[in-house]
Amino acid sequence: MAADTRSVTALTARALEAALDLWRRVARRGAVIAGPLHHTWRRSLHFRIVAITLVASSVLVSSFAYLVATQSTNILLDRTRNAALKQLRVDTDYAAEQLSSFNQAYDPQVQTSLRQIVSTLSRGGPEQGGAIVVLTASRHPYLKPAQSVDVSPLISPDLARRVAVDGWVSDQIRTHDFGSAPTKYLVTGSPVPTGFGPVELYYIVPLSTEDQTAGQIRTMVLFTGGALVILLGVLSALVTRLVVRPVRVAARTAQRLSAGLLDQRMAVHGEDDLALLAASFNQMATNLQRQIVRLEEMSRLQRRFTSDVSHELRTPLTTVRMAADLIFAERDEFDPTVARAAELLQAELDRFEGLLTDLLEISRFDAGFAMLDAEPTDLVPVVRRVVERLDGLSSRAGVLIDLSLPETPVIAEVDPRRVERILRNLVGNAVEHGEGRPVSVALGADEAAVAVTVRDHGIGLRPGEEKLVFNRFWRADPSRARQTGGTGLGLSISLEDARLHGGWLEAWGAPAQGAQFRLTLPVRAGDRLTSSPLRLVPPDAVPGHTVDVRPPTLEVTG
């Protein structure tokens, strides 16, 4: 017994294993098919709704179909069963009446009567619209079963026992092939009381008609269900299309709008919700367009104003300059107080001129007139030149500039004038804010990009100021007089220059640790940058001092 259980368990386990294996294989194959489907599922609302409708309606329809088919089969079967039972009861009464007068089973008339009863009850047999009737006398082995045709395979031992031994009226459905085709039969049996003890009467009805009808119902339900599911699918596809199409149009229009095609509008049909959506969308687009155009106009006017003002100021400035130069040249002859004023005038005029130049430059950028004049350039001499030119300033400030340049030339397609301007700006700023501490300038390169970092050890930047430094006229301390330093536009112009190259200009800084600026440019003009050869955060930076864990960077992309 235990061994049996074990072997059964083992067998079950093996079967389970095989089933799992099969399942895995099917799942793998399924995954291959499901991949694209999954993609479509995620991408298409249309597909999703149709698929959900199909699945849901399939489940519903098949449940309903199953219910209908089962119920109709049950009704068919019940009717046949009831009819058979009714007939069997009548037949049993008849047989009982016919056999009631026999007290002994070995009377030769009994066998004759059994035959006669079966012949009467079968009414010519199934060929003539009658039934198959069998009378058996299992308690009397010498009495042969009386039957119109030999149907003994239809009477199962179970049924025979239930009827003959337990004395129950019972039925059973059996299938047997009598030569033509396997046919289902309803076998209903009843004991028949007689004078010599009970015999058994079986009433056998072929269920071919019922089977056929059930099959027809099943087919009909299957077809109807299938058609219904397909219809629902098509319907949902159509309806979804009705809803999704305007949404798609709206999406496309929105895309175009965002791409700058501001006169894109949706077509409005009718007065429904979708029409309302389209109308609202159009309204929004119109408002946006108007706003954008207004803003653009305003911005254009402002830029134009800046440019015009700069130009208009230039002519009088030139005259003032000439006069101031004359005064400055003759200052030695003036009263020292006046001489001092002449000097001040001269210095402020220099600043004013620089400011105007920068304003003009910025307005060129704003107007989109800035052009990149890229050519392969070795950046080593460029860096060196910038440092040399700022030699005077640095020595005045007492700042040492530490240069870290590669031995080999670093060639990149850049506009040398603009790169020089950027570097001059960065190094100048470093010297200016270096508070007398050394400034390091490093040049690095890899296959795709070149980078220059400028490090100072001044007061550094407060968190958040890494981005603000590039704003126009931004100052770390607004109260500080604009006496030292540039115009406040230098880093903005540098940023615009770097952007023109498709490069990055980023800043790092921490209070009391100084700041570092990094310029990264692609080796080939127009290439997209992915990384920089130099680190933005200097290696000597103390991380704990920064508020922001993530190095605050400003990524400038073309």
Partner: protein
Amino acid sequence: MRRRIILATLAAALAVGLTGCGIPDETAVRDIGPGPKPGKQTSGGAGVSPPTREAATTKETFTANFLNAGAGEPDKMAERIRGYVSESARSKVGRGVSINVIRLREPATYTEVGQETWKVTLNVEQVGVLDGHGSVGPPELTNSTVQFTISGIEGDNTWFVTDPPKDLLLNAEALTSTYFIPQTIYFWSLDRTTLVPDSRYMASELDKGRQPTRIVDWLISGPSAWLEPAVSPLSSDTKSNQNVPYPKDRLDVALNAAAAEPPPGTSNIDMVLQLGQQLMWSLRQYVEVDLQLLLDGEKARVFTRDAAFYDVNAANRAPEGPELEEAQPERFAILEGKIYRLKGSPDGGRQPLPQLLLTKGVNEGVVSAALARETSDEGLRTAAALVIQQGGKFKLRLVTAVGDSVRPPETSALGFASMGRPVWLKAPMNVGLVVADKKLWRFTPDGQLERVALPAGIDEDVADVSAAPDGRQIAVLAGGQVHVLGISRDGVTVQVENKSNRRVSTPLKNVSAVDWSEETKVALAGAGQDNKPAVWELSVDGALAQRQYGDSGGTVTHLVAYPDDPVASEFSTTKVMYSREDAAFDLAGDKPAIEADEVVGAPGEVDPDKVTSPFFLLD
């Protein structure tokens, strides 16, 4: 994992859906309810079975029992008789379902041939052969002595037949005892106008519930051999579809379609109706309320005891009832050539004679007479056949009447040296029979006489003739033997069917007169074993024989009987009148002899010795 479960569920649901909603190939046994319980015992139970060997302790009872051993179901008969025979001698016992019916003329004699071994000698009369269908046919054996040996078993107190007779024997008395139930089944006459009875004997041991089935089987297997030429049997293809359940208010008889096949040469007959009536009459004892006939391919028909039912048997006069049982026939007798009523008639015989006898010149010189009445299409027909003596010759004077209109009397042209008692054949009553010059003649109401040929094997000298109440059988007394003959009728011609001849064995000697006393019985006058005149009643197959009256006078010359209605025969006593030299008798009353004062309306002093030839008005 969840997705797997969902998929597996879906797959399972699909599988169930595809296979689950059809009719299954095979189901478990479904119980509907307990089977029917055996109801009340519907069968009436079986009657007496023949005695077994062990039942007898004396040699006399053993012998009697041995002769009754076959008084049961035909298929068990031979085996039962073998049971009486010692093992070594059993092979000598015959087989088969037929048994020879014998009547003991005198008690058995025993001769001791060894210790407790006796030779039994029987003086027997061979009555006939009881066949498997309960019919007693003509005897096949002729021996009048039967011998066999019986031995007692010591200590056991039982007996064995050690040397059995080679034939199966049955004492005729068994047929009238509790072992058998006499039955009458009916077949249609050849012209299909009336039913003709056929006597059968059913073993009492057959369960009551199966008796109607047995009768239907008999009907299907045909009439008794001797009657067959005179009746119209069911088609030979007839088969019974089922047993006839009994007892039951409605008897159900189911036959195949061949049962209602019209015989060749007939048309316009409602065969189903006739078959139903035939079944009704044959199963009369078993029909509680009505009978349903189910023929293949026909609508079920129900038959009851209606007027048509009583009409189709010509032997029957009226429906069952107390009136019929109490009805008395009209009695007449002849005194000095004139017919007078007898006191035994209804109303004391005070009514006048029937109209047709009152015509002048009719009721004169009468020797013997037959008076009969029958309802016909025209009305009530009355016919009188009077034997008269004219110039030393016997002639027939015939008078008929329909209602009150009497036709003028006709007298036969032929004269005879002797003439017996005439009889009218009934159904229809258009011809009569008479024995004249020891030959059988038929006569018609217009006075024509014509010879009727009798089949070979019947003595040429005919002494008496009698007609069955159905008009399809006659009894002829010829050469001292009684023959029952089936006849066919066509108009006024009467044809005796050649093979339809049944000699009736009778315990009487010198039979002198015969008349039908019931549809299957005849009354005979002759001499008993003591050689004294006696009147017996016998069934036409000879099986039943009952002495009715013993006389001490001379030979009976004239005997008439009034046949009982079949439906009343169980209640009524046999009505017989006869006359011999110097006396006439009516066996109905306490005093059989007809006294002088019983002749109503006779002038002057009546000499009872002169009262002759009493007769009944047969209606």
